[in-house]
């Protein structure tokens, strides 16, 4: 089954309401563009399968 393209415009409208972030009309296209760019960049992370036992380091130590 083909993955359905996310409705970013709606995500921005509803998400902004959820986090109480007013987004003026003149900023809306830029926000949508940035989410689209983010989606393209994060795809390799989203496509990964991680073992359930893999938890984040409680305190990150390099």
């Amino acid at each position: 089954m083909m993955e359905k393209k996310p409705d970013i415009e709606r995500l921005v409208a509803e998400g902004a309401k959820t986090v109480s972030l007013p987004i003026a009309d003149e900023y809306r296209a830029g926000v949508i563009l940035n989410i689209e760019r983010t989606l393209a960049i994060v795809r390799p992370l989203l496509d990964l399968e991680l073992d359930d036992a893999l938890t984040p380091a409680p305190v990150f130590r390099p």
Partner: protein, 460 residues
């Protein structure tokens, strides 16, 4: 030894001259202030100059106070470092309305305790969410090699001030590459130490999980001198590690004997312009490095660093995005707003990958000591340029200049960027990467490359 009053003098040159009485700190500072005045109309690296403070401090040094390894060395800091009496801009207009700093940041205090003299605060991309060095409030910092081009960011002023010879030493911050990108594009030396090695106390944060501080300079020796002066635990920064100081200066001249050096393949060997790979090949040849290693899942690591940055940075600024969106730089505002809307599940997955990737990369460092990788995918783009073509693919400049630096800072590895100058073109840098807390190794390799003439500070 270069004349201590010259723009080509390194911090080491100046400290040796002042400590032996061959030059006065006051004269060194006056020379630096004159150079700043002359260069600023073109370079725009500084947002604040603290001339009277610097003159007072220099006079105290000449009177026999404040001895140390950086005696009389003028330095400047990215304007997210607290400077007593000034607002901590962090590249923003909004922060200027906030309180003035009541105390210098921890690293400014440490450098001054070693005899260095602060001369000012430096331009940067707003709130450090930037790889370009552009800023709509204060104007862009401009690349001294060609002012029509970017410095890189977000520590753009820190790279430009050193490349222009205004000061021999600056401090920057690096969350995803903000020391390494301007070091590469301006053609200077940069050190991003191990995460947690240097105190971030008294600096304006961006992404706590990934924020690092470090020096930019005209020589490897200056990186080592300043790094050694800044090491040490600090309970004022919860991420700062309580670990014994490991001075790098005593072993800086040891050369590369015994160091296993490899070239990063896979992700780091594609998606860039030929000059990025050419610079890595030149450094590898000079080091006789032929082995290639692959950092597993580097592309996903870059994606995870991107997500953590977007979500943590946006969360930090959400109150101001609600109340003062018009006062943000247009180039950061909508990026921050977008980050505030990303799913929390992505963030947690990114942090889980961080642990897995960290373990895998540390295993790789059982086989090698230093890994070479491009610092930037290209030389400095033109100011105002929004898109660039990398290996035939059109990509946004602002989000992608750090695509080779992000997977490294994601797990806090120490990196030195060494610059390769191009007589008829713009410089570009190479990352020397080591396992955590092995700054020693990358500084030794950088010093070796400098001695052999492969890497050098910009010409006059």
């Amino acid at each position: 030894m270069t004349d201590a009053l010259s723009k080509l003098a390194t911090a080491g040159d100046i400290a040796r001259a002042v400590s032996t009485g061959k030059a006065k700190a006051s004269a060194v500072i006056e020379a630096a202030l004159s150079r700043i005045q002359a260069a600023e109309p073109t370079v725009n690296a500084f947002t604040d100059i603290v001339a009277e403070r610097a003159r007072k401090r220099a006079a105290e040094i000449d009177a026999g106070r404040h001895r140390g390894a950086l005696m009389g060395v003028p330095f400047a800091v990215k304007n997210l470092f607290d400077i007593e009496g000034l607002p901590t801009r962090a590249g923003s207009k909004i922060n200027v309305d906030g309180p003035r700093a009541t105390r210098d940041s921890a690293l400014v205090r440490k450098l001054e305790a070693a005899g260095a003299v602060l001369v000012g605060g430096l331009n940067m991309g707003e709130y450090a969410y930037d790889f370009t060095g552009e800023n709509s409030h204060y104007g862009p910092s401009r690349n001294p090699r060609d002012p029509a081009h970017m410095t890189g960011g977000s520590s753009g002023g820190s790279g430009a001030a050193v490349a222009a010879g205004e000061v021999p030493l600056s401090l920057g911050s690096d969350t995803n590459g903000s020391i390494r990108v301007p070091s590469s594009l301006c053609g200077v030396f940069g050190l991003k130490p191990t995460y947690g090695r240097l105190s971030r106390a008294g600096t304006y944060p961006f992404v706590d999980s990934l924020d690092h501080l470090g020096p930019i300079a005209r020589s490897t020796e200056d990186l080592a001198l300043s790094y050694d002066a800044m090491q040490g635990a600090d309970t004022d920064d919860p991420a700062c590690i309580d670990r014994a100081i490991d001075p790098t200066m005593p072993r800086l001249g040891e050369g590369i004997a015994g160091l296993r050096i490899a070239i990063a393949g896979g992700y780091f060997a594609k998606g860039a312009e030929p000059e990025a790979f050419g610079s890595v090949a030149a450094v590898a040849k000079a080091l006789d490095a032929t082995k290639t290693v692959v950092l597993p899942q580097a592309e996903a690591a870059r994606a995870a660093a991107y997500v953590i940055t977007a979500i943590e940075g946006s969360q930090l600024h959400l109150p101001r995005l609600r109340t003062r969106p018009q006062d943000f730089d247009p180039d950061t505002r909508e990026r921050f707003m977008a980050g505030a809307l990303l799913p929390g599940a992505w963030y947690v997955k990114a942090q889980r990958l961080r642990r897995q990737y960290h373990a895998a990369v540390l295993a790789l460092f059982e086989e090698v000591d230093v890994v070479l990788a491009p610092a930037t995918p290209c030389t400095a783009p033109r100011l105002g340029q929004k898109m660039m073509k990398l290996d035939g693919v059109e990509l946004p400049v602002r989000a992608n200049l750090g695509l080779f630096t992000q997977p490294i800072s994601f797990i806090g590895l120490p990196v030195v960027v060494v610059p390769l100058q191009c007589p008829r073109g713009l410089p570009i840098g190479v990352q020397l990467i080591a396992r955590p807390f092995n700054e020693q190794a990358v500084l030794r390799v950088a010093a070796h490359l400098e001695r052999t003439g492969i890497t050098s500070a910009p010409p006059a």
